[in-house]
Amino acid sequence: MSRVPPADRPIVQVLDVHKAFGEAEVLKGISFDVRRGEVVCIIGPSGSGKSTLIRCINALVPVTSGTIRVDGIEVVDPKIDKLALRRKVGMVFQQYNLFPHKTALENVMMAPIHVLGQDKREVEVRARALLAKVRLAGKEAAYPGEMSGGQQQRVAIARSLAMRPEVMLFDEVTAALDPETVKEVLVTIRELAEEGMTCLLVTHEMNFAREVADHVYFTDRGVIVEHGPPETLFSSAVDPRTRRFLSQVL
C-alpha cells in the first residue's frame, strides 16, 4: 500500500484514563498511543466504553482521571481551549450528524464561517471541492432529509474535513446504514487514510479493520484486553475474550 508511513512521535496519547458515570465505571484505565498517519481501529462488544473513549478524546465528555494529549494539547485540562482542540480533531457520529435545516453545502460551510470567521467565498470553493472529493458533487443543494444515510455520512465527513483537522475520529459511522451504503462510506474513509490522515475508528467492520488498519485494539468492559496489528490480532489472538468476540463477528 502506498501510504505515508506513520511518524514516530504520537499525535494522540491516552494515559490511564478512567471515566465513571455516577457509580458505574465505564473506562477503567485505558492507555494507548496513536502515531501521526496511523489508522487505528477499536473493536469490542457494546457497553465496552468505546464511544465514551472517543468522546473523551474530543473533550465532549470529561474524564474522571487520567491524561489525554492531542498534539501537545492537554485535553483533560478544564481550562483547555476547546476551539484549538476541535480544529485539530474532527469527528463523525453514528446518527443525527448533519443539521437538517441546511443544505449539504451549507452544512460543510457553516463551521469555518461561524467558528473560524473565514471568508465566505473561499470557504464555498473549498466546500464544493470537499463534496466532490467524497463523490457528492451535484448534491450541494440537497437537504439531509432528501439523502440516503450513506450520503449523509459522506457529507458529515466532508464537513469535518472543512476544518482541516489532523486527526479524524469515527464513532461507528456505518452501524446504522444498510450494506450497500456502508461500502461507499468505507471507501471514502479508506481514501482519507491513504492520503495520510490519522484516523481513529470505533467500528464493527472487521474486513475494513483487517485491510486498512495499522493497529487494532480490542476493548471489553472498560479495559483494553488485547491489541496488535490486524494480521496478528485477527488470526492468532491470545486472550480468550478476544477469541470469543472474534469468533462471533468473523
Binding site: 476541535r86 443525527y96 448533519l98 457553516m110 463551521a111 473560524l116
Partner: protein
Amino acid sequence: MDAVPNWFRGLYETTGYNFTVFYDPYDWDRYVNGLKTTLLLAVTTILASIVIGAVGALLQGGPSRFLRGLVNGFVVVFCNTPPLVQIFFFYFGLGTLLPATQTADGLRVPLLDNVQWAIVALALFAGAFNVEIFRSGIEAVPRTTVEAAESLGYTRLKAYLYVVLPLALRVCLPALNNNLINLLKTTTLAYAIAVPETLYAVKQIWSESQNVLEMMIVLLATYAVLVGVLVWLMHRWERALRIPGYSR
C-alpha cells in the same frame, strides 16, 4: 364611496336589518377603534409571549436550580388558572397595591392602565404555554446533533443560536401557532376590564342602537376573518420554515 352606506341604509329601510356600523360614522369609528385595539393587544401579547417562552425555556434548561424551580412554578400556575381571573388579579389586585400618582383633581392614576395590565396578564398567560412548547422543541434536537456542532468547534452559546434554536423553532411551529391563535381569541377577555377592544365596541353599539342580531353577525364575521387571517399567516410561516425530509 357612498354606495356602501347607502345600500345599508336602504337595507334597514326595506328589511329592518340595521347594520348601523356601515352607515353611521360614529358607530363605524367605534368599531374600527375596537379593531385597532384588538390588533394592538394581539400583536403585543404575541410578541411578548414569544420572548417570555424563549427566555423561560432557556432558564428551564439552565444550571441554576432556583431559576428552574421559579420557571416551573410560573408555568404550572399560569397554565392551570383561568386567564380571566388572572386579568382581574393583576388589574384589581396588583394594580391597587402598586404605587400610583394623582391627577390634579386628586383622582388616583394607577401605574399601568387597563390596556397595559391586559397585555401583561395575557402575555404571561400565553408565555407560560410557550415555555413548554419551546422546551419540547429544544428537546427534539438530538444530542448527537449538538455534539456534532460542538465537535466542529461551536461553543455552547453558538451551537444554541445556530443549530438548536433554528431546529427547535421549526419543529415546534405548529404547536406554537396553535397557541398564538388561541391568544388572539383570548384577547376578548380584556372586555371584562373595560378595554375598548372589538367585543366591547360592538356591545356598546348594540346597546345604543338596539341591533343585537346584526351586530352579533358583524362580530362573528369579524373574528372569523381575524382568526382566518392569522391562521393563513401561520401556515405561510410554517411552509417557509419547513425542513425537507423531516415529516415523512
